[in-house]
Symmetry: D2
């Protein structure tokens, strides 16, 4: 961190500041220029609160040079992290397709879809049991029962399962879940992150709608600081001024996260766009950009014609897409 | 709600759609034009999932005409809601100043500030006990002990207290708190909102960094649908491309929320800007725009010179500001 | 367009409104419901100012059903537009790579790069002559002389040239330019767009930093309404809250523009990210998403080591990337 | 500016970089730490292109310490600039109300409104002659004839006039205009800014929809670098994710611009919100925040009932608002 001091700063205050920094194990290096004086901070500055420092009387501005995250930082862990979920590898050249319905609705539905997506090439099964909904009047999911049904589908197909948690007190229901998902709205639910840091399960951490990549990595850091290093990052679209698509898929996040961190990065094109016919091109784009995985909504209820065409693909459309994905993977150095 | 149907829609599908809508108590009105066919939905459409409808094969687009929130809606409750907190009224022409430190640090600190802000004209005391922090390495608050200290300050000064909750399981610690605050990052923590809907305490609900006013009212609706009608809305800045200020205070939210809803609206200029010297002009602007309250950070520790100048005002600066606020209040028809 | 009328609207005002709409050739259809009255507008509503209508006393809200653009609209022109630039085709299954330096610096430079990018597979040459710069103290380009040098490079290599215009009065300098580029900052310079509508040259129209896809198509409409139908749309990143990359490449714009319009869509990954090492993954992503072209910055000055590594690729890196692009093209149904 | 060098940088490249900086009159100061090496740049760095520097092989990151604008910078001009428009003063404690119609429509209309707004307390007259419109099919203004009509209204009332320019070639029409307005869409039309820098008229420069405050000041710098120091900055709302209001009025921009610059700052609440009933609260908020002026749309055509209620106030509503504004002005230290 570098502090730009005010031109007319009080030497006494500078002394107090330096002493305070020393108590945190940070030493300083002063460089007086004609127009400004710069105080360089040497050592581990991750505990120095930049907002607090900026607010001090003698400080004009403060700029971070080191990232405030450590466990998630590529600089300290140059090799890609590979996360093994029941034999299925994510990261470090391994790309996987996670597929399944938005919500678990019935045993028949989830087992049917699980078989379909497995046949088409998916290697993990997703399905919503606890559902965060904007409106209190919307369907809130089958909750604990939904997880039971996912486990049955796992039994039938062998696919490891991924499902979302909304509150720490629900953790007991997740004891047999393979990957616990943290939704975008909970990315900064710090109490939940701390509790997940004390588990040993892989966590699929979705980027919040308006969170920076640095904030996403700070939330990963919450989990990792608790001891759980198995974090999978997920880009799922950010909120911008554009309303033609539900959100704006930040495809450059894939490359940038790979640079900033060693953790695997998956992309959710279904929630990013909210439009089924845009899922295939966005899935291919994510693959070409180097994503380590895709999480795609697939629906299979032909009798329920009304929800056809939602942000979920039909099994047939998914199978076709999976073939194209496999065509692009070797061009960008990926295998399953 | 109005559905624009595709030009070549299948009459069978239209029949299925109409039947499905009828099961939700919604009747329809079809209007065929030269270029498009429009299906008007009549009745309470708050249970109709607009995303689902948009995704149907025969639907080209769907547009809401009625807002999806009811309890919070001005149309169904034309009169301003006035919330009474231990005799202090917020809303309906009553404007209050909530003041106090960012974090509760010690008994001496919180009682000292409470006395100062009361003398200057504040009518409620704020203070952070459970603190959401971006970094796991930052101070996380005194937690339950902080609430004890706030209660002591209340005993000393008579000021009702406002403090933030982060998780439902902490609710027992809040039994003597006067107003429970939901932070911006938890605005869509729906499990927490449901649990707060089952309490009878006023809830100060902060707008999320990237949430629309409609989403804020839908979160209020979660609380109100549970039976608790005492919701105070809070604008605290939104995330935009501008980086000169920490967030962008959306001052027009005050007027717009007053139009959309009968609930009181308070403004938090301290978190919105993150810069102490901008708190006075933004407080005055919020007052002039018609806010029903302000929530302002005040710090009083003269020995801890390093944190002077943060986003917190000194008691002296706060007292001066409170005088200006009282000057503007009658011009816009407000009393305490 | 659909107007939702206020419940207690004045019948006299409704008559005045209907009469006014009739003068614009728009007829109306009234539908009175229990809670609201809806006025459907039938006919060509592209001349009806939606903001004006919304502001009328008797109107509660107005919603567009038809897009306000016609010439650029896919609905009225279902087939892809293919633009032929000196025999090089863009759109309708034809994908091209436009490459060249950020600024034209010298004859030697531009001819050298032109030869390099041609050898690697580029089919058009780009280069900045008139340069829009945020700071008045930055290099403003070689201006008219830069265009002369581009024409020499065209003579040497046969590559058609693409270069940016900043003001209508410069049009005479562009008489031999093959494609005239309108930069992001001029996307809504309507006087310039009108003047370009009177030329017969292909226009590469970049999306503004904060402009919606609809606004981009309205700007295309300005050119097309003047008689020039040869518009190439260009996504080059939008401004969001994220600062890790210079802009956020809106990759879903490619698919969405293809749906809304018949015009070809190219992507500029160099300006979108501002970081050379992100240009290859973003180029591959754009190709996989179905872009009709890429516009990539390439620099070739080995002696000027200081600017190596900018947002411009070296010719070697560009050649490698071009090979990968050619690998993806057939998977998404594209040829040169 | 501070450059953070890569850990393993090539000493040869460092020498080249230092030499290149010296050619621009910038000297350097090297500070080697355990984890990073920092190169401090001493002198006038406004000509150093930060993007270019960041892209260099040996540079990991670059951070500006000095602002890239000089003429507009408060640091070098501590006193407020007061701009005198025909005896009417803007800035330095003087606040003015600019009012008038969106578009000039006829002699009768503009003279009528001019008299009304003057009577209510406006001291400058605004009116659109050259109109930037999103759609080519919308009314484009009376253009040169509109300016003639504004000049007649000035003759009748004595109010100085403010009107928008869209292209340098129209400058001859503006020779008797008192204040030339640059619209939001032209804020970075650098050719136009350069030409305005060669005039001696006050320029009212509107912030672009998605431009930072620094970029606004860089555009002011374009005008000032040409010799014209009379720039009035204007906040008119920015584009965010929120759609309840047309734009989000960035009220904190008023305070922040006053800190960054000595130039006067006016606010346009009419365009910011697009809703007439929100103009009064936003005008009062801007006044309370310390704005040096307001620019408000007023319409006076009682026979043209259809456009009543637009973003324009009636003369009566404007007169009432002007009274409230005068009530707040002394509280924040402002006189006319």
């Amino acid at each position: 961190m570098i502090l730009i001091l005010k031109r007319d700063h009080d030497p006494q205050q500078l002394e107090t500041l330096t002493a305070w920094l020393n108590t945190m194990g940070v030493s300083t290096h002063l460089s007086r220029g004609e127009f400004q004086t710069i105080l360089g901070l040497v050592g581990d500055t991750s505990r120095v609160d930049i907002d607090l420092v900026k607010s001090m009387d003698i400080v004009e501005d403060a700029k971070r040079i080191q990232e405030p995250f450590k466990n998630a930082n590529r600089k300290f862990h140059p090799d890609d992290t590979i996360i093994d979920v029941g034999g299925v590898k994510i990261g470090g050249g391994h790309m996987q397709i996670i597929a399944g319905p938005c919500s678990v609705e019935s045993e028949e539905q989830i087992i049917g879809i699980a078989k379909d997506v497995k046949a088409a090439g998916a290697t993990l099964l997703r399905g919503g049991a606890f559902k965060p909904r904007t409106s209190p009047y919307s369907f809130q999911g089958l909750r604990a029962e939904g997880i039971e049904l996912l486990l049955k589908a796992k039994e039938e197909t062998g696919l490891p399962i991924v499902t979302e948690i909304m509150e720490s007190s629900h953790l007991p229901f997740f004891k047999d879940v393979d990957v616990i998902q943290v939704g975008a709205r909970n990315m900064q639910n710090f109490e939940l992150l701390k509790d997940l840091g004390r588990t040993d399960k892989p966590i699929l951490l979705k980027r919040g709608l308006a969170n920076t990549l640095e904030e996403l990595l700070m939330s990963a850091e919450y989990i990792m600081a608790g001891g759980n290093q198995k974090v999978i990052l997920c880009e799922r679209g950010i909120r911008t001024f554009e309303t033609a698509t539900r959100n704006t898929l930040d495809i450059s996040a894939v490359s940038m996260l790979h640079e900033m961190s060693h953790l695997p990065v998956v992309v959710d094109p279904s929630h990013a766009t909210g439009i089924a016919r845009m899922v295939p091109p966005m899935s291919l784009a994510a693959t070409a950009a180097g994503a380590d995985g895709l999480i795609i909504e697939v629906h299979n209820d032909p009798r329920h014609a009304l929800s056809d065409g939602a942000q979920s693909l039909t099994p047939a459309a998914f199978a076709e897409l999976a073939g194209q994905i496999r065509g692009i993977m070797p061009i960008v150095g990926k295998t399953a």
